[in-house]
């Protein structure tokens, strides 16, 4: 037998390996960046439409929206276009009618439900200082049980005029928003839970309470700035 058959198995040179990996990464990188650039305008338009639809659902008189941030130190500022909001601020949307007059405020709230965070959008009426409607932004609650918060008429009726009045010094809510056992609601700041879906109902109440306690004290002193669309 010749020595050739015993030669080591063919080894690919290091330079070749690196070159191939480099070429593949470059090609793939180009494809990814290209498709990102192409789809970005359409994706942003979709996000905008979805957001407007969610706000219009809770503030039905609205025709256009402007995004604002409520700052943790107090005060508000208009959100600059694009980019994510910093974690410390609360995002809210001022909703305007055809004439550019403020017709309501919408904001997101979230709290832990049965399966995951229940994220909702609520509409706030500045005149009655109450919550006038809620819609679900995202949730993973059990179909047929937790997702009743969307369709249960009695539960939805809680949000015709849920009281979230502020104290005179505008520092906190007069009454905490609280979810109570089904059938025991006596006050306008209470939420009557759905029997059998208490955990999800409570998440809605806690989410609204947390968001209102944070947002409304910062919003109330600055309402004048929002009155007319800027």
């Amino acid at each position: 037998m010749s020595t050739e058959t015993l030669a080591a198995p063919q080894v690919t040179p290091t330079a070749t390996l690196l070159r191939v990996l480099g070429i593949v990464s470059a090609v793939c990188g180009l494809i990814i960046v290209g498709s990102y650039e192409i789809t970005l305008p359409a994706a942003n338009a979709n996000r905008r439409i979805a957001l407007e639809r969610a706000v219009f659902k809770v503030v039905p008189t609205a025709k256009s929206i402007v995004e604002y941030y409520a700052l943790p130190a107090g005060g508000i500022e208009q959100a600059k276009g694009g980019g994510e909001a910093p974690a410390s601020v609360a995002k809210f949307y001022a909703a305007y009618d055809d004439a550019g007059k403020l017709t309501g405020i919408a904001a997101e709230a979230g709290a832990k439900g049965y399966a995951d965070i229940v994220r909702i959008m609520f509409g706030y009426d500045t005149a009655c200082q109450c919550i006038t409607g809620i819609g679900v932004v995202s949730m993973k609650e059990t179909p047929g049980i937790g997702d009743k918060i969307l369709i249960d008429k009695d539960f939805q009726a809680n949000f015709k005029a849920l009281d979230v009045k502020l104290t005179d010094d505008l520092s906190a809510l007069v009454n905490e928003v609280k979810t109570v056992k089904h059938g025991t609601k006596t006050n306008p700041w209470q939420i009557d839970a759905i029997a059998g879906a208490t955990v999800t109902s409570r998440a809605v109440g806690k989410g609204i309470n947390d968001a209102a306690q944070f947002l409304l004290p910062k919003l109330a002193p600055n309402l004048e700035k929002l009155k007319v669309k800027s």
Binding site: C28, T39, A42, N46, A50, P143
Partner: protein, 224 residues
Amino acid sequence: MSANSPVSSPAALRNMQEFMEGIWERNPVFVMVLGMCPTMAVTVSAMNSISMGLATTFVLAASCWLVSVMRHMIPKEVRIATYIVIIATFVTVVEYAIQAISLEMSEALGAYIELIVANCLVLGRAEAHAAKNPPMPAMLNATGMGLGFTVGLTMIGGVREILGNGTLLGISLFGPNFQPWVVMVLPPGGFFVMGSWLLLFAIYRARKDRNNAALAAQGASHGA
């Protein structure tokens, strides 16, 4: 097929076989039982199943084509890394495309779009088929596998949607008095429906084998 269809030439016949392999004979869901993670997770409705299936089909076809084009260039030492990068690229493309087409669909499918990267069907096809075949058959085979996957998902998703929600593709089938069988749209329902389909196909195959055996025995006795 008419007599003058392109299938009559040997090359076209082979391409046709490549294409059909995944749709029936080696269906990824019911025969090879590959890619079970999205199969169980997203098949709560027919529409979700179809979207997931088509997204996977695109990733399969595109990455198998590219793997096949580059198959002589890729050294075997780095082939898995290369395949995964290629697959991840097309998954990202699909993700952006779905966001641009429909935000609702993107939210319904959630993380399972990204998880196509880890779908063993895609890497399995790239490694077992595309790396050894020219681009045209590789892409045809991958498209067939993808469509077979779509059909499989839709068969599960359709049944789950009908039983668990009383609708098919969002259209109500039984009217307002239908009491949905909620467990069907929860995770256990996926296993029930998948298991039932596998049982049906197993019965079908057992029957066919028995018939074939009986025919063969008959043929043998006649020959004797």
